[in-house]
């Protein structure tokens, strides 16, 4: 457990350091994630050293969203004032992303699969 935390927070801290040193506009957590993938790939970190903790964190990702979701109550005024644009734009855009992403993947994969045959 301690080793698992040390690895995850080590990657996160390294991400923070990169942001601090370079001022790059990427979240430290994304840099840490890429670092973890790289370390696993080159074999410096073994999968079983992080598996339990990462399964736990990913499996409960939704739970960690609850506090920022509750913060919604602070913005009832602005949401009420612009309710229609916020809700409609979000719904329309989410549906478009779902279909465009899926459809592109299906289409390109179908094309490249045909080429291989």
């Amino acid at each position: 457990m301690i080793r698992q935390c040390a690895i995850l927070f080590g990657c996160l801290a390294a991400g923070e350091l990169v942001v601090y040193l370079t001022g790059i506009k990427l979240p430290s957590s994304i840099i840490g994630m890429l670092l973890l993938t790289t370390l696993l790939k080159v074999g410096w970190i073994k999968l079983e050293w992080v598996k339990g903790m990462s399964d736990f964190l990913i499996g409960n990702l939704g739970f960690f969203f609850i506090p920022p979701g509750v913060a919604l109550m602070l913005y009832f005024d602005i949401i009420k004032a612009q309710f229609v644009p916020i809700v409609v734009a979000t719904i329309v855009s989410t549906a478009i992303v779902l279909v465009v992403t899926g459809w592109t993947h299906q289409w390109v994969r179908g094309k490249s699969a045909k080429k291989q045959m």
Binding site: K25, L26, S28, L61, G69, L74, H105
Partner: protein, 231 residues
């Protein structure tokens, strides 16, 4: 009643409500009763009724929210496990991610602008498809309203979890890989958790989608907004 502001009580309340909400969904089988949505709604009702300000809840809440960042780092594990799969489908994955990312930003910005949203709201909506820590960081950098972003991100996740597979059916996206990928790209971790409930395979591709959409969105949004006439 002063005790109700106790941070450990509020953390306990968050856990027990979420646990109850999960049981409720299991028993009823209704997708609309998403446990995250139900818990957020109940907590807002609780805080409003008792008159406890959000700032008091936040003292406990930050300890839960704190785990978002290490959880994003942990996504490096499924990404590593799927590296071989990704290599095999580099082009379809790359193209669909790129288009999904661009379309996600452009469509929400233009629709909100057309419907008359103010600039700070539009900026806060732009990174809505990606996971909270990334989306909030993007909004912060662009002087939007990070909490509004957090709320919209949760809303987007719930939309995907509740209606995602139906929208994909209507849009004739049939391959399981494409469906999983889209769920992660469009509605991040919450969409991915819904996909995970279908099967491991769906879940794996959903986590891939949510992982891969984070970075281009973080990088594209600051430069895309001026092009779209915002900011």
């Amino acid at each position: 009643m002063e005790f109700l502001k106790n941070q450990f009580f509020l953390i306990f309340l968050t856990f027990i409500l979420f646990f109850g909400a999960k049981m409720l969904q299991k028993k009823s089988g209704w997708v609309v009763l998403n446990p995250i949505l139900v818990t957020i709604a109940l907590l807002i009702v609780f805080l409003s009724v008792t008159g406890i300000p959000y700032s008091d809840y936040e003292k406990g809440g930050v300890m839960i929210e704190f785990w978002l960042k290490p959880a994003v780092v942990a996504l490096g594990v499924p990404l590593y496990l799927q590296l071989e799969q990704i290599k095999k489908q580099l082009l379809p994955i790359f193209l669909s991610q790129l288009l999904g990312c661009l379309v996600g930003i452009v469509s929400v910005v233009l629709t909100a602008k057309y419907l008359g949203a103010s600039n700070d709201v539009i900026v806060s909506l732009a990174p809505k498809s990606v996971t909270t820590p990334i989306a909030m960081e993007v909004t912060k950098g662009l002087n939007g309203i990070p909490s509004l972003t957090a709320a919209v991100v949760v809303f987007v996740g719930l939309l995907g979890a509740v209606f995602g597979f139906k929208v994909l059916m209507v849009g004739r996206v049939k391959s399981p890989i494409a469906q999983g990928l889209s769920m992660g790209t469009a509605s991040h971790a919450v969409g991915a958790s819904a996909a995970m409930e279908r099967s491991q395979k769906y879940g794996a591709y959903a986590s891939l989608g949510l992982t891969l959409n984070g970075m281009p969105t973080a990088m594209c949004t600051p430069s895309l907004l001026p092009v779209l006439g915002v900011g």
